[in-house]
């Protein structure tokens, strides 16, 4: 069946901001979808609120709407654009839910829009628990005994019938939000209540827990002609009980025999047929390790994180093929993009093993519960390929950037055998390392470990293969024989050096001397059966023949940014992709190295060559040795790439762009201070101390409040603002280990306006595409602040100073390419906080709103082109007539023990953008896009710290005048009475019956404004209030600045329409300016 004839214009819904459970994989899928539609000559309208993505670039779709993903906005856009079809199965759960809402509210019918791909009935058959259960029963596919409840009594009745353990899953949520395994009534009640709150439809599924069974997944595709194929099978290292997003996963399945494999494969086909899905779908099974019994756990009727993984694992472009199916093609009509000869209608066969490893945010959320269960906690993931499991798992671990380079966590060295053994039963982020530790110490046999963990013994034995080699290495000294064994089992040079007490150089030299070198193999979907054209490679020490054809062309390696984590998100992938595109435009062969399966950069047709490898010095140098590139670009891959600059330069690799020494001058505090002094540019006063006494004296001299942080970590980790000596003492004893090697930095905390600048320099000229002003005052991490372009309150003198300082610092640092600077403006004076000689989180946002291809220009500048030559001149580019607001998005619902109050440590996982000719509406769009439902009336709870009471009065008054009812704790209420405002007094948290939490639960409070008293100890009540707002979806603002802006939006929008949409192309092209 060829392409549907009636289609000319198609609207695609993206997945919105990155949150835990819905990350960069949808940028990959969405971009692929849009390109694939355009390839068919269709006009594409894209809606997505996330500016940090490739898919929201103006060249990916004909019309790009960066607007909130709500029914209101979508309706307005549909009305305006009048598309023929809607494609929603590539925008994750967010896109799917929105499509269902649009269909049910009659919008699609009204505007005659055809839902492409899987139908609404089919979506519901897969997603609605009751309908799913009926369907599975009809076709005889087993599902665990279960019931759907809408209240707690149903849950208890069911538990009384079938007993514990049970698993609680809310219907229609992302990444299993709010679910969990319960083993008694108390836990059942708690989890069920939470699940009911999170479910979009107020339903929770309670079912028999089959924790401990093998968890197996299939990626399946079906076309309109009912042809079905499986793309990839996957086996979870962690048995059922851990969310698949939090599991280590291998592909293909390893421990299933052909009979079991086909049993589940046949079931998959039967299921996708019964559900009548058209496109890609993910099916999860639990398989009894001791029999042929299995249960169907879940079906995702759409492209998912697993399908992104399956695409990267096999080379089969699931998103692309799903799109072609959605517009009417059948699988046998679609060409296999990898072989270009065979058809997309086949099942990939791989001749390597793939390991996916989750990246958790526990390094940032140090107080979070690290237990893994049915609620996903990982922010990102890495993938690795090798010809052995051992090689692949070690590559994955190296790719994580969590300070380990093998299955060894140094902190476990101090643990007693007893402790190691006892902890084996704990299911958390450290389990794999603990298993290795137990095997290394030989204190538990693989059988014992398998019995405790329920992890298949096959995996445990493989881990033992690694630790056995480690033990031998440690015993012998470094020689060619054991070096070869170490490399065959996948250990890095660094690990070998560590284990044999030699230097990295010794190991590398010996390796080269004995020609112990990796070969590179191709990912081709067909296990070499057919000739392929994919330039997609991985390394292995298990091979004789290298398949890479090294060209004679000029070539440059772009280092990617690794797994998505808090502080280093999809923005850096955006930059890497644009750098690759710039190189290709210049006719230079662009090679990318990255290990993140979710991203656009690891799509094999983005670069000339893709090496799916860990981003470590060794792994990169191996590729450099092979490809002999002209050089490497490090400035677009975030801190991951920057951190490799020095060691690569030391090995003689040319680093394009800002030099390693200048990078160091920006990053090393002392050298940076020296430079600022020379340039006569002020920064907040600060000192570096190596003991408590110096800290106290120093802080007194600087004057409280001070910002304190350890010098050896970046990204705001363990950074706090302390207001007095007592708090400083507490911080020094609790948060950091201060030693002469690891000083603590004490800086004056300037309570001013924070301003952020991204600039491009060629060493002569410095172009500033735009300046962003933060809504929240300094002290809130820049990544968690609302940023506004262009600045709304800064006087021109300040802007002039910022422009001047930026230029002088860029030139002093001899920046070639991008740099990012954060300033604080206090009392009209500008201070520098931080300079990053690389691309930043705000580059995609700024590129989009200013219509300057910042990465492209920076890449050219890094290679020696002049800005003037490209038509750019020094200074600030004239601001645009519209306003763009970037707002942070948090995943607090997934992390139960995390405090949501904002501070110097970054907590957001993603971002959205609001753009409009009116600042207030841009802000409204940003806040709405971030998922915050600002009430237009109702009741606001004020509970603020003493230091904020004065400021709060004015704010409360303003809300009061807007007609809101105010509720406050006693102290705050008194303060309000003093200015003549009546606020209802609520009891504190411990005063049971009428307490705040209770009122929030009853839905009597519609918004909360809460600031935290300084010091960490007194904050318990506040913590509970804030968590309650997360659990119940009540907006809660922890910075008065944000609350002020919300108030302004409410005031301004009273007599204007809230929903007004324009495409990005309209703004940047000047377009229709009638707002």
């Amino acid at each position: 069946m060829p392409k549907k004839k009636n289609l000319n214009k198609i609207i695609v819904i993206g997945s919105g901001p990155i949150v835990i459970g819905q990350a960069a994989e949808f940028d990959y899928a969405g971009s692929q979808a849009c390109r694939s539609l355009k390839e068919e000559g269709l006009e594409v309208v894209l809606v997505n609120s996330n500016p940090a993505t490739i898919m929201t670039d103006a060249n990916i779709a004909d019309r790009v709407y960066i607007e909130p993903l709500t029914v209101d906005f979508l309706t307005a856009i549909i009305e305006k654009e009048r598309p023929d079809g809607l494609l929603a199965t590539l925008g994750g759960q967010a896109g799917l839910n929105l499509a269902v809402q649009l269909a049910e509210s009659g919008v699609l019918d009204k505007f005659n829009v055809e839902l492409l791909g899987t139908s609404i009935t089919a979506i519901k058959r897969a997603e609605d628990r009751e309908m799913f259960k009926e369907t599975m029963e009809r076709i005889g596919e087993p599902i665990p005994e279960s019931t759907i409840v809408e209240d707690i009594h149903g849950a208890i009745d069911f538990a009384n019938q079938i007993g514990y353990p049970l698993i609680v899953r809310p219907a229609y949520t992302l990444g299993g939000t709010g679910g969990g395994i319960v083993t008694n009534e108390e836990e059942l009640i708690e989890t069920t209540l939470r699940g009911l709150k999170y479910s979009m439809i107020g339903q929770v599924l309670i079912e028999r827990s089959i924790a401990g069974w093998k968890e197996i997944e299939y990626e399946v595709m079906r076309d309109g002609n009912d042809t079905c194929i499986t793309i990839c099978s996957m086996e979870n290292f962690d048995p059922v009980g851990v969310h698949t997003g939090d599991s280590i996963v291998v592909a293909p399945t390893q421990t299933l025999n052909d009979h079991e494999y086909q049993l589940l494969r046949s079931a998959s086909l039967k299921i996708i047929r019964a559900l009548e899905i058209e496109g890609g779908c993910n099916i999860q099974f639990a398989l009894d390790p001791n029999s042929d019994s299995y249960y169907v756990i879940e079906v995702n009727p759409r492209v998912s994180r697993s399908s992104a993984l399956a695409s990267k694992a096999t080379g089969y472009p699931i998103a692309k093929v799903s799109v072609k199916i959605a517009i009417g093609y059948t699988l046998d009509e679609i060409v296999n993009a990898v072989t270009k000869k065979t058809k997309a209608c086949f099942e990939p066969s791989v001749d390597y093993i793939v390991v996916k490893f989750p990246r958790w945010p526990f390094d940032k959320f140090v107080y979070a519960d690290t237990t893994l269960g049915t609620q996903m906690k990982a922010t990102g993931e890495v993938m690795s390929l090798d010809r052995t499991f051992e090689g692949a798992i070690l590559k994955a671990v190296r790719s994580l950037e969590i300070g380990v380079n093998r299955l060894h966590m140094p902190k476990m060295d101090d643990w007693s055998d007893e402790k190691v053994k006892n902890r084996l039963s704990k299911i958390n982020d450290e389990r794999l390392f603990l298993i290795a530790e137990a095997l290394r110490r030989n204190i538990a046999t693989p059988d014992e470990i398998a019995a405790v963990t329920k992890i298949d013994r096959w995996f445990i034995d493989k881990i033992k293969n690694i630790t056995d080699v480690e033990v031998r290495l440690k015993k012998d000294s470094l020689n060619a024989k054991n070096l070869r064994d170490a490399k065959l089992v996948g250990l890095s040079d660094k690990s070998v050096a560590e284990l044999t007490n030699s230097t990295l150089k010794d190991v590398r030299d010996m390796r080269k001397q004995f020609r112990i070198l990796p070969v590179y193999k191709m990912v081709d979907t067909c296990a070499a059966e057919f000739e392929a054209v994919t330039p997609y490679y991985y390394s292995t020490y298990h091979g004789e023949v290298d398949e890479v054809e090294v060209s004679n062309k000029h070539k440059i390696i772009v280092l990617g940014s690794g797994p998505i984590r808090i502080g280093q998100g999809v923005e850096f992938d955006y930059c890497s992709v644009h750098s690759v595109w710039a190189l290709r435009e210049l006719g230079i062969e662009a090679i990318i190295i990255n290990n993140n399966p979710e991203t656009v950069s690891t799509d094999f047709d983005i670069s000339d060559k893709l090496y799916f490898e860990p981003l470590t010095t060794e792994d990169v140098l191996n590729i450099v040795d092979k490809e002999k590139p002209d050089g490497v670009i490090v400035q677009f891959g975030g801190q991951t790439a920057i951190n490799l600059a020095a060691s690569l330069a030391e090995a003689g690799v040319k680093i394009f762009g800002t030099s390693v020494d200048d990078i160091d001058r920006a990053e090393d505090r002392e050298r940076f201070d020296e430079m600022l002094t020379e340039l006569n540019i002020p920064r907040p006063r600060g000192i570096s101390v190596t003991n408590l006494d110096d800290a106290i004296t120093g802080a007194a001299q600087i004057g409280y409040p001070v910002m304190v942080r350890p010098s050896y970590v970046l990204g705001g980790r363990a950074m706090e603002i302390v207001y007095n000596e007592e708090e400083l003492r507490d911080y020094m004893s609790r948060a950091v280990k201060v030693t002469p090697d690891h000083p603590v930095l004490v800086d004056r905390y300037m309570q001013g306006t924070e301003v952020e600048v991204d600039a491009i320099s060629d060493g002569v000229d410095v172009v500033i595409p735009g300046i962003m002003e933060h809504v929240e005052r300094a002290g809130v991490h820049s990544g968690d602040s609302i940023a506004v372009y262009p600045p709304q309150t800064l006087p021109s003198k300040v802007i002039y100073t910022i422009t001047d300082y930026t230029k002088r610092m860029a030139l002093a640092l001899k920046v070639k390419g991008l740099l990012n600077i954060q300033y604080v403006v206090a009392d009209g004076k500008v201070y520098v906080i931080e300079v990053n000689p690389r691309s930043s989180r705000t580059v995609p946002f700024l590129s989009k709103v200013t219509n300057i291809k910042m990465v492209n220009v920076a890449t050219r500048a890094a290679l020696g082109a002049t800005l003037k030559g490209m038509g750019y001149y020094s200074g600030l580019v004239e601001p645009k007539p519209y306003v763009a607001v970037k707002a942070p998005v948090f995943s607090f619902a997934k992390m139960q023990d995390v405090d949501i109050s904002l501070g110097p440590e970054m907590k957001s996982t993603g971002e959205v953008m609001g753009i409009d000719y009116h600042y207030a509406r841009a802000l409204y769009k940003a806040i709405t896009g971030a998922g915050i439902n600002i009430p237009k009336n109702g009741c606001i709870l004020f509970t603020v710290a003493d230091k904020d009471k004065e400021e709060m009065k004015q704010l409360a008054k303003a809300f009061y005048e807007l007609g809101f009812k105010l509720v406050a704790t006693e102290g705050t209420a008194k303060a309000l009475q003093s200015i003549g405002i009546d606020a209802e007094i609520v009891g504190k948290v411990h005063q049971r019956s009428s307490d705040i939490i209770h009122m929030i639960k009853l839905g009597k409070i519609h918004m909360v404004i809460n600031t935290q008293a300084p010091g960490k100890h007194v904050a318990k009540d506040g913590f509970r209030i804030r968590r309650a707002t997360v659990e119940l979806g009540v907006p809660c603002f922890t910075s008065l600045d944000t609350a002020w802006e919300v108030m302004r939006v409410l005031t301004f929008m009273r007599d204007r329409r809230l929903v007004y949409s324009l495409a990005l192309q309209d703004y940047v092209g000047g377009g229709d300016a009638l707002a």
Binding site: D258, C345, E531
Partner: protein, 359 residues
């Protein structure tokens, strides 16, 4: 011990020889891209005397178990793999792969860059090869390489005597010509309540018809179909007598019997992921395949035979049907084991033919 595979064009692949220096072998080197089902492959008589390369590098992960054997013994000439798993894990396992290889006396070269080998075969075509120890003399290698490819492979694998598998009440009666039948075919027929008599390949048409079957099944098997001209002649005699269903070699023999031609493919189709399009329904099924020869499409012109199935990968003939007689055959393996069960319905058609003929 160190060993190597030498191909007839001189290319050498190094590895470790399993089972010591006596475990040398020679034969045609082929590759299979299935990721599971090594035991089924090793016991499929169609691989008789061939050296099988498995492209998936980790082999032996779930051990072996008797119930997965596809014939009375393994007939393969040798096995080439990346890694032989020494510590498999599966509740159904009875023997490790190493134990199985030893018991079945299958020479095996492991630690081989099987991907490089596959690429070689893919580009040059199927070649003869020898697996020898690192220390085998050149003279011995030359002698082994000079040995011709065996032509009497069907004879080696077919059942020496006929036997019958009983079924339930009111069964259909199928006589199966055994050219190297896989056990799962018999299981599939039995599941459909067929009483099956398996007869040796050399059985005559008269002998078969004397059994008065409801239908005749022509099995899979090894080698070039043209190496069994006697069988082709007998099948020719059966064409208008009974419903016939053929699989793999049986399909090729049937096609030759109907007057078509067969030819050798460059490197064959061997794997569990082969897409086949049914021209009658337009639907595509993923199939299990193992064949080095194919029916020549052009040779079907003018014959009362129509093509029912083609390979989506290379367009070659994967199934035919006689235009007027209840005679059908497929090149691939609807019985699976290893591979997908998507085409098991083909047996139903055979059953229908037999029922119609009987009625």
């Amino acid at each position: 011990m160190k060993g190597k595979l030498i191909l007839e064009d001189g290319t050498t692949f190094r590895g470790q020889l399993f089972g010591g220096s006596n475990a040398t072998t020679e034969g045609e080197v082929v590759f299979n891209t299935g990721m599971t089902g090594y035991q089924e492959i090793l016991t499929d008589p169609s691989y008789c005397r061939q050296i099988v390369t498995l492209t998936y590098p980790l082999i032996g992960n779930y051990g072996t178990a008797k119930q997965f054997n596809q014939s009375r013994k393994s007939f393969v000439g040798g096995l080439i793999v990346g890694e032989v798993c020494e510590k498999p894990s599966s509740s159904s396992m009875q023997k490790t792969l190493s134990e199985f290889l030893t018991a079945e006396k299958i020479p095996c070269l492991y630690d081989v860059d099987t991907r490089a080998l596959t690429r070689k075969i893919r580009s040059v075509g199927t070649m003869k090869g020898v697996i020898v120890s690192e220390y085998t003399s050149q003279g011995t290698i030359d002698e082994m390489m000079a040995l011709p490819i065996r032509k009497n492979v069907v004879e080696m694998v077919t059942t020496p005597v006929s036997y019958t598998i009983d079924a339930g009440k009111d069964p259909l009666y199928v006589v199966t010509m055994d050219f190297g039948i896989k056990r799962n075919i018999l299981d599939a027929l039995r599941k459909l309540n067929c009483r099956v008599t398996v007869v040796p390949a050399k059985t005559t048409a008269e002998e078969i018809l004397a059994l008065n079957p409801d239908g005749i099944f022509l099995s899979n098997g090894p080698g070039d179909p043209k190496d069994v001209p006697g069988v082709i002649r007998e099948v020719q005699k059966l064409l208008d007598k009974k419903p016939i269903f053929g699989i793999c070699l049986g399909h090729q023999i049937l096609a030759l019997a109907m007057g078509a031609n067969t030819y050798k493919l460059k490197f064959g189709h061997r794997g569990s992921n082969q897409p086949v399009k049914c021209l009658e329904t337009g639907k595509v099924a993923i199939t299990s395949q193992n064949h080095g020869y194919a029916v020549e499409e052009s040779s079907l012109k003018g014959l009362p035979v129509k093509i029912t199935h083609i390979s989506l990968n290379d367009g070659t003939v994967e199934g035919v049907r006689h235009v007027s007689l209840p005679v059908t055959s497929v090149q691939y393996h609807p019985e699976a084991a290893p591979g997908p069960n998507d085409s098991v319905h083909l047996f139903d058609e055979f059953i229908d033919h037999m029922k119609q003929a009987k009625a």
